[in-house]
């Protein structure tokens, strides 16, 4: 059986590393980039089963990326989960209304819980 493929767009090196190594251990194929531009390019080129997205990125914000992904017929079916430090309700609402499957404020979850949530969208 083919491995499920996950793309992580996150600029915080440590978090990127934690997610990447943990998801690889769970048996997923993980690709990780730190800018919105690289993320958008990659998602056009390859098919992913899930996108894990940060909001504050060096070149753009996660909402813009989500919008572009959902507007593109080629990528709009890819489920997206936002994992961000922004925990305000209006940001969460915005993410969900733009089509994110879930919005996980980092401070409210342990690594295991984030991984479990991500896994639940890949099953």
């Amino acid at each position: 059986m083919n491995k499920k493929r996950v793309l992580i767009i996150e600029d915080e090196v440590a978090l990127l590393y934690a997610l990447q190594s943990r998801l690889s251990l769970e048996g997923f194929e993980v690709e990780a980039v730190s800018t919105g531009k690289d993320g958008l390019k990659l998602i056009q080129e390859k098919k992913f089963d899930l996108l894990v997205l940060d909001i504050i990125l060096p070149d753009t914000d996660g909402f813009q990326i989500l919008k572009q992904i959902k507007e593109n017929p080629k990528t709009k079916e890819t489920p997206c989960v936002i994992v961000s430090n922004l925990a305000e309700k209006d940001n969460i609402d915005r993410g969900i209304s733009l089509g994110a499957k879930d919005y996980l404020p980092k401070s409210r979850y342990h690594l295991n819980e984030i991984i479990d949530k991500i896994k639940s969208f890949l099953e």
């Binding site: 915080e12 978090l15 590393y17 934690a18 690289d38 430090n85």
Partner: protein, 370 residues
Amino acid sequence: MEDILQPKKNQFNIIKQCREEGLPLWECPNFLFLFTGVISVVSMGTAYLLASYYFPPEIVIVLIGLVSFVMVVISYLVNQGIVRITQSKKELRKSNEALSIALTEIRKEKKMRENFTTMLVHDLRSPLEAVRLIIELLQEKKVSLSSKDLHDSLMSINHSVANILNLITNLLDITKFERGRFLLHKRIDDIQKIITLQIENFKILALSKGVKLSSQLADNLPSLLFDEYALDRALANLIVNAIKFTPAKGEIIVQAVYVPKGKEVEKIAKHYGIKWFINSSSPSIASISNSVLVAVTDNGIGIPKDKLDKLFLTFSQVITAQGTVKTGIPLGTGLGLSIAKAIIQAHRGIIGVFSQENQGSSFYFSIPTA
């Protein structure tokens, strides 16, 4: 506020009313109208009585004359009072307007400071959260970590901690700047030392992101008069920003060259292969002379044209800019560049940037020889 500035008037208490209007009793219109009434009644009564005892009309005429004179004096006083009330009302309205403008400004500033603090806390929390998650990863029993995994985890933690420390140092520096306590202790020294030290300091930060950091220093760099700590901070901020905006597999190079005379930058840049300075046609670049030029060049994401002139802001502009946006370029960037600018200007140098989107950026500064 309305209540304090426009107190309710007591219609029946004339003395209190006069005090509220800020007028003496004899200029208070309400009192004077009352007084006029009393005078009129008394004078008419007196005139009637006098007229019934002393018939001669001269006396009545003199009396009427006297009463009229009193009335004229009273009218004059009434007029004075009304003029003063109108004036004080006008002044009141003016100061009222000024107050409400000031209040709006204060509210705006407060809101900006609040947003700034939110951004700041966010910038500090973000790497800390990442460190927490890595520690959780290391603590997990079911994960058996190879020595490479352990090394990579520690590198990531190191990366986050370095970013936190840099931001905290910037905040302390800004507090010193704002209180006028950022004092420069300039000494003649070699700038090579600073560059080599900072490259060493940030090598791991770059490496943990998969970015190569190196330096190229000309052999003929003269000694310069500078404050070691300040220049350390200026260069550190340029390097940290370069790392932040350069994705994995990118490269950052710190170059330092000596420019003996004006308009020679291009020739020297060509010689050392500093591409952004060739054909730059920038007058501030051409004006660099008898200085050491330091350039931190990356091949990262670059900066959009419309944002280039908004990079080197003052601290208060950073607060305003960061206070009005919700997400965007991380706060650390704005603070770092504003600190670098203040430091380089205090060394009579120039600071600037060349950049193109998707091509990379080159932040440079010059320090004149003593």
